[in-house]
Amino acid sequence: MNNKFVWTKKDLLGLEYLSAAEIKFILYTAGSFKEVTTRQIKKVPALRGKTVVNLFYEPSTRTRASFELAAKRLSADVLNIAVESSSVKKGETLIDTGRNIEALKIDIIVVRHNCSGAPNILARSVSSSVVNAGDGWHEHPTQALLDMFTLQEKLGKIEGLRVSIIGDIAHSRVARSNIWGLTKLGAKVTVCAPGILIPEGIEKMGVKATTDLNEALEGADAINVLRMQFERDTAVAFPSKLEYLKNYGITTERLEKCKKNIVIMHPGPINRGVEMSSEVADGKNSVILEQVTNGIAVRMAVLYLVSAAKEIRR
């Protein structure tokens, strides 16, 4: 990697806003951080004296834990703030909250929000770095970055890979970020879901859309299986769990027809027996736990890079 590459973005809001070179640079940097996470002392002083705030408007255990660990391994101080979504309407506005947090003299705000675009709005209102930890149905950039990092680790490259994203595409920020990232790095992406869960105009994002799982699996080098959330958006006629497993669940039988070394990813948490059978989730093609491990390296890389960039902007 070129020593001269200069990271200039103070925020990470989504992969839509990054160039292929920037995405590759994050992945390279994450590779360096992965080594740190294998040491006995898994801590480096890079962000000593900096403070990372996890501002979570939505409950999250794993993403928050991953960011927290990433920040701590960089020697940053971490402050966790959980805001009840229900109190948003009557309480303090997002911008006021952001400015108040900034007045605590912090450096990075990691934000998870149920409203799409909330990190964009926050980033315009504060001079601290803002890292999107998932916003509405919009983006979840660090998840896609760790998915791509894992893919690259397993298959050596991203360019030219055939990757299928299977599940509730319409309501998935993981899907959107993966689509942006993978297509920018030259992968061929197929999205697969029941018709009502394929959003309008998705093909214009450079992907193929299909309702046929067999088509999505055939020839795929990797699949990213999304979590089905049956409890959400009751206005839409969702298929039943059983019907979903039958038509879209990844099972051992289905796997037999796939490429032998197909990489199976899942952003977690898994609904065993819904989008994926237990045998597949725990099988040799599954990289689900490696994704979790890689998540820390990727988030360390992101926190490290954005933390200095805000000074460039000023």
């Binding site: 839509e16 948003v88 309407k89 506005t93 997002l94 911008i95 929000h113 409203c115 799409s116 675009g117 909330a118 964009n120 709005i121 209102s125 916003d135 509405g136 149905w137 919009h138 983006e139 920020r173 959107r176 959003p199 309008e200 105009g201 998705i202 214009k204 994002m205 206005a235």
Partner: protein
């Protein structure tokens, strides 16, 4: 105080109502136009040199939200009419979705008193179709008309109950009132934020389909056809609506329609940054829709350009996109945008633009609208077509600043405005009410 005698000299007068386009002088006296002629040399209290300027009948906005009574933090009759004058309007029609709604003769009267006291330009009152705009029970049209309302609308929503709407149209017809119709099938648009297309997908927001608008346009035109009443379709945003209206007009249905400047000046792409000042209802649509709107304007399908001036405070708009209210202000930018997007790009001639922004709205609302001829009330707007300026946030007259056009460079600025013979703005400076 007797209104002064004014002489506007050397300007290009454009008035399609009286088929005028040329260099004329206008003499104003007693609040009325006394003379329109070549090289007038009359005695006057004040002469306005309109050399290189354009003189048109005052602009008429069919669709303004003045927010008074109830939401004076967003806008008042005083601030809203100041904004109107800045934008070249001499008459605006205000929508009834205030708090409480203008849904009874008493509130119409109350509003009328405020207007009399505070308004800098003419304000026509639109009453609600149903009580509290709840879509359940019809308001008292006759009473409201007697109190001074000129039209009815439940703007902000459609009357979902088809039978009730038909009854409303019949009532309005017999009472001699115009129905201004916000067309939206909320079953199709519920929780939508932006146009349903690639943009809603990219932004991860629920989309608002075109069908939520045009299916309702179709239904309402059907009802108008059935009862023979006049229906005016508000803020047309999509191509299908334009087509439906065009066909209805050909069939002879009494339908008129308006669009707003943002539907021809902006596309859905503008929403991508989650700027809440691009959130409006109906939403910004695609490039193809913009083209269809322009075509509708040029072929006469769309009769009028209205602002849908919808003030919201900074604190209401400075929130997550999902939580922000729909709507933008527009009185001060409508003319500049129309000149840039329609006249400069040859969609409309100056004269056609005056029709869309002054003559036709006045006609549809049933106002005098006789243009610049002898004896007509002196509602006149003088424009410097070459004056370039940047629309700055701190220059906004409206109490709210929710505009996506802030910092846009615009050309063609209103310099002087006469309302009923009163010079309420002179050389871009608005006079205090006397």
């Amino acid at each position: 105080m007797t209104p002064a005698r004014y002489l506007i000299k050397n300007g290009r007068v454009i008035d399609p109502a009286n088929k005028i386009d040329g260099l004329f002088d206008i003499l104003i006296s007693d609040g009325k136009i006394e003379k329109v002629g070549v090289s007038l040399d009359e005695k006057c209290d004040k002469m306005i040199d309109a050399k290189d300027k354009i003189i048109i009948p005052g602009l008429v906005d069919m669709h303004t939200h003045l927010r008074e009574p109830g939401r004076e933090d967003k806008e008042t009759v005083a601030s809203g009419t100041r904004a109107a004058v800045r934008g070249g309007y001499t008459m605006i029609a205000c929508m009834p979705n205030t708090e409480p709604a203008v849904d009874n003769p008493k509130t119409v009267k109350l509003l009328k008193d405020i207007i009399k006291k505070d308004a800098l330009c003419g304000v026509a009152i639109v009453g609600a179709i149903t009580l509290s705009r709840a879509g359940k029970k019809l308001a008292d049209f006759t009473g409201m008309k007697k109190a001074g309302a000129i039209a009815v609308s439940d703007d902000g929503s459609s009357v979902e109950d088809k039978d009730l709407m038909l009854e409303a149209m019949r009532g309005a017809k017999s009472g001699g009132m115009l129905v201004i119709d916000h067309c939206e099938d909320t079953k199709l648009s519920a929780f939508g934020m932006v146009n349903k297309s690639l943009i809603s997908t990219k932004m991860g927001l629920k989309g608002i389909t075109r069908a939520s608008e045009y299916e309702m346009v179709r239904r309402e035109i059907g009802l108008a056809e059935k009862c023979g009443g006049h229906i005016h379709i508000a803020h047309v945003s999509c191509g299908e609506s334009v087509d439906i209206i065009r066909k209805a007009k050909k069939r002879g249905v009494k339908v008129t329609a308006e669009t707003a400047p943002h539907y021809f000046a902006l596309t859905e792409e503008c929403c991508a940054t989650y700027d809440t000042n691009t959130k409006m209802n109906p939403p910004l649509r695609s490039k193809e829709d913009v083209e269809a709107i322009k075509k509708g304007l040029s072929d006469g399908t769309i009769d009028a350009i209205a602002t849908d001036h919808a003030p919201h405070t900074d604190s209401e708009k400075d929130v997550e996109f999902d939580l922000a209210p729909f709507g933008i202000i527009g009185l001060e930018t409508a003319l500049g945008l129309a000149l840039a997007e329609l006249v400069d790009k040859k969609t409309l001639s100056w004269s056609a633009l005056v029709e869309k922004m002054s003559i036709n709205p006045a006609k549809i609302l049933g106002l005098a609208g006789t243009g610049l001829k002898k004896g007509a009330p002196a509602d006149i707007t003088v424009i410097d077509p070459n004056r370039e300026y940047v629309y700055k946030k701190d220059s906004i007259e409206s109490r709210s600043k929710n505009s996506p056009f802030i910092d846009w460079s615009l050309k063609g600025r209103v310099t002087d405005v006469f309302v009923g013979g009163d010079l309420v703005m002179e050389s871009e400076s608005i006079k205090a009410r006397t």
